[in-house]
């Protein structure tokens, strides 16, 4: 009898535990958002059909590598018409409604459940560009291309890493970057989670931001030794920069001066500092873009680099990897060494080396100051905090506590990185 009672009681407890498994009760669902809302309307077939659905693997796909052995519709460069509306936080009505082209964007992050969306303004849909101050404080209010970014390889983790890196350096660094504003996407009326609104790096971006002629923009990416052409031509870059460096010793001031008339050296220094300091493992070669306006005597005639996609930055695993080319003597991935070709030749010049190390120290002490970084990262986190439970529920991303600790990791890794880099760069500077 006693055993029977024990059994019944234990089964009772067991059932209670099973019934308590409904985690949905624990999440407060709110239909008000602290972030602006982007609404997109698009034909369902353009999203879900096996033949033409952009959001599915489907049956009409293309290969893209990235570790997947199957072709997928979302790898296709298809563009379909859609309507986009933007509703600022706290408001009920959209401040603009536009007809646009809808694409899936991103490189390997397309394989994520939540995908990055590209919005294309074209005259065939309606307006050829958008005029709205989407990014407060930005240089431009005009856009032809926008990204609703899924946070790339950081999707499901912090959801803010690249945005945080940009917010950290943007007021100091002389580099180009994509402006950032977090938003909530509703796709065909359905909650779609936190998407980061970003500028897309295209000639139009430089046209609007720097008032250059976008038809004259040369935009290159990949390896500097064999760049892929996004727009314009790579011919003069290869001839005037790469071949010149190959055939001349940059330790000679005369040759160095030729190169600094062809590349924006201040931009290049800051760019290298940012990418190496944050330990961007998904760089160089990948996520490397540079551009210029091909116009003699133009203000932007020198090659300038764009710092973007820092989704794998500040990883504790790589906090001790210095990766500043040949300057510190620590080998980078051999397959990525071409990405350091220009830098490894520039450091042969004493003036460059001095400027580089001095500027690096400035970044360590000012831009990446641990308290400053902590404040910026926490500010971004606070803007997402209210929204995160719904996003988490939608996409089954990290539970809130783990999400918070993954963000705290950025702060703690920066503290450690700051000390490590300070010691190394100081030593190199004193050596010099």
């Amino acid at each position: 009898m006693v055993q029977f009672v024990r059994l019944i009681f234990s089964l009772f407890l067991f059932c209670i535990i099973i019934l308590s498994s409904c985690e949905h009760e624990d999440i407060l669902i709110s239909y008000e958002h602290d972030l602006p809302v982007v609404e997109i309307e698009i034909d369902d077939d353009y999203l879900w059909s096996p033949d033409s659905g952009l959001y599915v693997i489907g049956s009409n796909g293309a290969f893209k590598g990235c570790g997947n052995s199957f072709p997928a519709n979302y790898n296709q460069k298809w563009e379909f018409p859609a309507i986009v509306r933007f509703i600022p936080a706290g408001e009920d009505l959209p401040v603009f409604e536009e007809r646009v082209g809808f694409r899936i964007k991103g490189n390997c992050s397309r394989i994520k459940a939540m995908k990055s969306v590209g919005l294309y303004w074209r005259s065939e849909y309606g307006n050829s560009s958008l005029e709205y101050p989407l990014f407060p404080g930005a240089r431009t209010d005009r856009f032809k291309r926008l990204l609703l970014r899924n946070s790339g390889n950081d999707f499901g983790l912090t959801q803010l890493k690249d945005a945080a890196v940009v917010q950290i350096f943007k007021n100091y660094a002389r580099v180009d970057y994509q402006a950032y504003r977090p938003s909530i996407l509703y796709l065909n009326g359905e909650y779609w989670g936190i998407h980061n609104i970003r500028e897309m790096i295209t000639p139009h971006h430089f046209g609007f931001n720097y008032n250059v002629d976008d038809d004259l923009v040369d935009l290159l990416e990949g390896s500097p030794l064999a760049p892929e052409v996004d727009d314009g031509s790579s011919e003069l870059f290869l001839l005037e920069v790469i071949d010149y460096i190959k055939n001349n010793d940059l330790s000679d001031t005369e040759h160095y001066n030729v190169i600094i008339n062809r590349i924006d050296i201040e931009n290049f220094i800051d760019y290298i500092i940012i990418e190496t300091y944050v330990g961007n493992r998904d760089w160089p070669i990948t996520n490397s873009k540079w551009w210029r306006e091909n116009k003699e005597e133009g203000q932007f005639n020198k090659w300038r680099w764009v710092a973007f996609d820092h989704d794998v930055a500040f990883r504790s695993k790589y906090v001790k990897n210095v990766w500043i080319g040949d300057l510190y003597g620590e080998a980078f991935d051999s397959e990525k060494s071409d990405g350091f070709f220009i830098f490894n030749n520039l450091i042969l010049n004493e003036a460059f080396k001095k400027e580089f190390l001095s500027r690096y120290l400035f970044f360590i002490e000012t831009v990446f100051d641990p308290d400053r970084v902590e404040r910026i990262v926490r500010e971004i986190k606070e803007t997402l905090e209210e929204e995160y439970p719904k996003h988490q529920e939608k996409w089954h991303t990290l539970p809130r506590r783990q999400w918070e600790s993954s963000i705290e990791k950025i702060i703690s890794v920066n503290r450690e990185r700051n000390e490590i880099m300070k010691e190394i760069i100081n030593a190199l500077y004193e050596e010099y």
Binding site: S10, L13, I17, A113
Partner: protein, 176 residues
């Protein structure tokens, strides 16, 4: 969320206190199986009683997946076969009566593998779209089960809170 976690823990403790009053058992081994959308998961589970009243259990499962790509948003784990989950915990008999006995298993379960979930209904196609909710990050949670032994044969039924999945097992009891 935290409140619910604490309640679960509070409920687990008396189960172990209860099991402390019952007799020792012999080693138990099960071949287990679980099924979820696009996934079959065979596995093995074992209980070893190191103490007259208490034992430890360990289990591991693999996944064999065959997803329908036309209706999927993503596949995180590309391979058709791989490590799926593992669990460890404690176990104890609740009662023994002639050839019948039963007990409880409770522990910790960890998943690292695909997790296909219903995403939305595609009206034009007349079917559901699914997505792989796993993000190359482990899911973990409580793992609870009950086993029944008749002579040498034993059945296991478990539920885990890591992904809210059910697993059954068919096994054998060895004499200690």
């Amino acid at each position: 969320m935290h409140c619910m976690r604490n309640i679960k823990l509070l409920l687990i403790i008396p189960i172990f206190l209860f099991t402390a009053y019952v007799n020792a058992g012999e080693p138990l081994y099960w071949l287990t199986f679980a099924h979820s959308k696009y996934i079959n998961s065979p596995g093995i589970e074992a209980c070893y009683f190191f103490h007259p009243y208490l034992g430890v259990n360990l289990g591991v499962g693999v996944y064999i997946q065959n997803p329908d790509q036309s209706s999927l948003i993503n596949i995180t784990h590309d391979a058709s076969f791989g490590f799926y989950n593992a669990n460890m915990g404690v176990s104890g008999y609740l009662f023994k009566f002639k050839n019948h006995s039963a007990g409880l298993i409770a522990g910790f379960k960890l998943y690292y593998g695909p997790d296909y979930r219903e995403f939305r209904y595609y009206e034009e196609g007349g079917y559901y779209i699914y997505y792989d909710a796993s993000i190359l990050h482990p899911d973990y949670g409580l793992d609870l089960g009950i086993f029944y032994v008749y002579k040498k044969f034993t059945l296991l039924s478990k539920w885990d809170f890591a992904r809210n999945r059910f697993r059954i097992g068919l096994g054998y009891r060895f004499n200690s």
